[in-house]
């Protein structure tokens, strides 16, 4: 929780041309905002979580607010990839990811990871790891997914693990290690999980791995 961020950031970024990042002007999805908002409000909230007052907020505005909070804290080390209704994607450099994730958990209210996936981009020579974070505790965030992504060099794929922040990433990160070959520092087991014990090939979700006969 040190405050020494922001100043050294943004140096190693900017040279990565991503397939997805170049398309952040995609038209937004056809998810109905008013419908979703009202259905959350009409939820049988027998639990004590009725403290939210702003259930009828304009949602793209709401999502922008989440991102603005992050940007004001971390400055230009956060790159906004897109803000769609119910979906936000940001990209941060690997050295800041643990700090940003802790902030997202403690301040923004996203408390668990639904999915962690790694995607191989041989054309730009890097691997993108993306954490889809959701929230069980905050009712106004229950329909939102914050996608926290980071990129690493595909020849030396190494990233800090988020297991200290989100316990729920444990098996997902382990799967990413064996399927795409990203080594997660501080993860207790970068180890075989789904593949056979005698697997002696490259990680199968790398693009140069071909299914036999295809």
């Amino acid at each position: 929780m040190s405050k020494s961020n922001g100043s050294p950031s943004g140096n190693d970024k900017g040279d990565v041309a991503s397939i997805v990042a170049s398309n952040n002007d995609l038209p937004t999805t056809s998810v109905e905002q008013g419908e979703t908002g009202s259905s959350i409000a009409s939820k049988p909230s027998s639990s004590s979580a009725v403290q939210l007052k702003s259930e009828k907020t304009d949602l793209p505005q709401f999502e922008r607010g989440i991102v603005d909070g992050l940007v004001s804290k971390f400055g230009n080390s956060i790159k906004i990839i897109y803000i769609k209704p119910l979906r936000i994607k940001i990209e941060v450099p690997p050295k800041d990811i643990v700090e940003v994730a802790s902030h997202i958990r403690d301040e923004s209210g996203f408390d668990h990871a639904e999915s962690v996936s790694a995607t191989d981009y041989p054309k730009t020579g890097d691997i993108e790891v993306i954490y889809h974070l959701g929230s069980y505790t905050r009712e106004n965030l229950s329909s939102h997914i914050l996608a926290l992504s980071t990129r690493t060099d595909r020849d030396n794929a190494r990233l800090p693990s988020l297991i200290k922040v989100f316990k729920s990433v444990e098996y997902h990160e382990r799967e990413s290690f064996e399927m795409v070959g990203v080594y997660f520092d501080n993860h207790p087991r970068n180890d075989r999980f789904l593949l056979p014990e005698d697997w002696a090939d490259i990680p199968p979700l790398r693009k140069e791995f071909r299914i036999k006969g295809r």
Binding site: S39, K43, E114, Y136, S142, S168, P204
Partner: protein, 386 residues
């Protein structure tokens, strides 16, 4: 002086190691599986100290098929049949969120009637899955009536789905753009009749199984997963709702026409194995309620399938969509590079997420509680391995 101190500390260290070894010797390692501990090949090793489990290490992957890799070789439509193989009993739901994600990428508008029909198919399928799960839970606890009854009642629902889709288990019915074919003549009445019958049966299940002292003693207060731990571990579906979190994707992020349907999220606050066994029954009851509304509100006529290009493709982009399956949230993360084939597909399945709770709950439990704890997690090995 210092030499002596060194020797003393060395002796202490050796002594401690011997004690540790002796403690290790007390433990016995047992391998559970991989020959179908429930359904689907799955193995986990437990270390026991007498009657108590002190360590658990899951080892999935015996039914890993490489679904995510296979997706990269086929176009968006060709992916449907193989994607439902991980969980054939719930095949309408596992293709549902895939269809939603593809529709977002390719920008397809689904006809309103199709939205109702695929919601009906997925509700029926969720019940088929839950009955199968319940049957195995019964046989796990030595209650063979509870194996026979759900297996028999499941046939009725499977007959309904067969009339609807043409196949008993692997339907390939929910596709991007709608459903494959319209409902057959007389389906609505038949569905209402069987759902009514089925609701009566749920009452009988409760009498013979859930109020059975045998089940109660073996599950009540066993393996408590607190609300805080459930959120921290990121579990989903009935496991989460049994821990007191009323979270259901159909309510949290309504897809298709679920925002027009009136239903309650069923949850319990006791957090034990019994709650995890009981929430699926409550879900089935709620599902009957939903099916009635869907049949009632469904438009009488109309398109059931949007017109698609032969090789549908959209602009480069990505989508993450999820539905509520029998085992909880089922999400698809699809990256498209503008070609008719997906660039990357990641399937985030409920079983894989609930697996994290297995070591958490088993450590400290008695070995005799292992079957009831393991199967209460609503874990489907084939789906987790993908």
């Amino acid at each position: 002086m210092s030499d002596q101190e060194e020797r003393i500390s060395e002796t202490t260290r050796l002594g401690l190691e011997i004690v540790k070894e002796a403690e290790e010797d007390r433990l016995m390692t047992l391998s559970v599986g991989p020959q179908h501990p429930g359904s689907g090949h799955f193995r986990f090793t437990v270390k026991v100290d007498g009657d108590y489990i002190v360590d658990c290490d899951p080892d999935p992957g015996y039914v890993h098929r490489g679904e995510e890799k296979m997706c990269e070789y086929r176009n968006f439509i060709q992916n449907i049949p193989h994607l439902e193989r991980p969980v054939i009993h719930d095949s309408s739901n596992i293709t549902y969120s895939y269809s939603l994600a593809v529709e977002e990428l390719v920008k397809i508008d689904v006809p309103r009637r199709a939205q109702f029909i695929r919601a009906i198919a997925s509700e029926l399928n969720r019940q088929v899955y839950t009955l199968y799960w319940l049957a195995i839970y019964g046989i796990f606890l030595g209650h063979s009536t509870m194996f026979m009854w759900p297996t028999g009642d499941r046939e009725l629902l499977i007959d309904l789905l067969e009339a609807l889709t043409g196949a008993r288990v692997t339907h390939a019915y929910n596709i991007p753009g709608g459903v494959r074919n319209d409902i057959p003549y007389g389906f609505k009445d038949r569905c209402l009749r069987q759902v009514s019958y089925f609701e009566g049966r749920l009452k009988e299940y409760e009498d013979i199984f859930y109020n059975n002292p045998l089940l109660r003693q073996r599950t009540e207060g066993v393996a408590v997963l607190t609300k805080e731990d459930a959120i921290k571990l990121g579990v989903t579906g009935s496991v989460l709702r049994a821990s007191g979190v009323p979270y259901d994707i159909r309510k949290a992020e309504p897809y298709d026409i679920y925002d027009e349907i009136d239903f309650n999220v069923q949850y319990m606050k006791t957090c034990d194995s019994f709650a995890r066994a009981y929430v699926p029954l409550l879900d089935m009851r709620e599902s009957c309620h939903i099916i009635r509304q869907l049949l009632d509100k469904m438009p009488e006529s109309g398109e059931v399938r949007a017109k698609l290009q032969p090789n549908p493709k959209g602009p480069p982009g990505e989508a993450y969509r999820r539905v509520e399956s029998g085992r909880g949230a089922l999400g698809y993360y699809i990256v498209s590079d503008g070609t008719p084939r997906p660039y990357r597909v990641k399937i985030s399945v409920g079983s894989f997420r609930n697996l994290l709770a297995l070591p958490h709950l088993l450590v400290g439990s008695k070995l005799g509680d292992m079957p009831s704890v393991y199967w209460s997690l609503n874990y489907w090995p084939v789906e987790a391995d993908r």
